[in-house]
């Protein structure tokens, strides 16, 4: 993520980078912070902390490169190192299991929740948001990065410090789990075989 070469910027350049390359991502960053912590105040703290760190380490950032991915990586690291430790949330995902699941020959024969498009279209309230929030944070994260923010595998791998294969398997599993949740909602809304 172009951070190995240290840059030298004047104060004016620093301010320009901050205003033109970092600040435009603040709304995405806030949403990412909120979706990770599920708390508006914690999200504010996380975003504020991320922007201060970004400024402090601005000379590790090469002007004109992928600022959004760089900022997301800082926020994710702050979340893991500071926030997660604070709330002592253990990492619950068994990645080995996920990898085995994805690499097995049975993937095409897995049981897919039988969900219909019309049932989904009736979910006009908070169902989808609640389903996303109910996922384990590591699964939630890949859905946010891919589906909400449009990051590519390579960018996600760098943001999360994991191999591309793990990004793919985690995304696959996350989509399955999300569908299971939505399927439960659809049933509770009265859709049979939804």
């Amino acid at each position: 993520m172009a951070e190995s070469v240290r840059q030298h910027y004047t104060d004016k350049e620093k301010q320009e980078i901050f205003d033109n390359e970092f600040l435009p991502h603040i709304h995405s960053m806030y949403n990412f912070g909120y979706r990770l912590t599920l708390d508006r105040d914690d999200a504010k703290d996380l975003v504020q902390d991320t922007y201060f760190k970004a400024f402090r380490f601005i000379e590790s950032f090469q002007k004109g490169t992928n600022a959004k991915a760089w900022l997301f990586r800082i926020l994710k690291n702050s979340f893991i190192n500071d926030y997660r430790k604070k709330v002592k949330e253990p990492n619950k995902v068994d990645y080995q299991e996920v990898e085995q699941y994805y690499n097995s020959e049975d993937v095409d024969r897995q049981i897919t929740p039988d969900l219909r498009v019309d049932a989904l279209k009736d979910m006009i309230g908070d169902e989808i948001s609640n389903a996303l929030n109910a996922l384990d944070v590591d699964f939630r994260t890949v859905i946010i990065l891919c589906d909400l923010e449009g990051f590519k595998y390579e960018e996600m791998a760098k943001i999360l410090d994991i191999p591309i294969g793990t990004v793919r398997s985690r995304l696959h599993r996350a989509r399955q789990l999300l569908k299971e949740k939505l399927s439960e909602y659809a049933k509770s809304m009265g859709y049979k075989n939804a």
Partner: protein, 88 residues
């Protein structure tokens, strides 16, 4: 379209599964050729047709329902103010 023209076939020659093709599309990692191939494939593959539409609907719902609005103005002002102080 024969398998030899399947743009999803990897350099190792491994035949992709339906799920692998669909995942590349869902993840936004497909090429225009792959998208075109999958559209034709879906016409003859009911599970792919169904899964594609369900998965894409979920993806669109996520985008429209979970992007959560703007960061609070006071947060933006606070960050801007502190950075300005650091520079001056």
């Amino acid at each position: 379209m024969s398998l030899s023209t399947n743009p999803f076939v990897s350099t190792t020659g491994k035949k992709p599964t339906c799920m692998e093709m669909l995942q590349l599309i869902l993840d936004g990692q497909d090429s225009p050729e792959q998208r075109e191939y999958f559209k034709t494939h879906m016409e003859n593959c009911m599970p792919c047709f169904k899964n594609y539409h369900v998965d894409m609907t979920i993806k669109e719902l996520l985008k429209s329902k979970c992007c959560g609005g703007d960061a609070p103005e006071e947060l933006v002002a606070k960050i801007k103010g502190q950075i300005a102080q650091n520079i001056s």
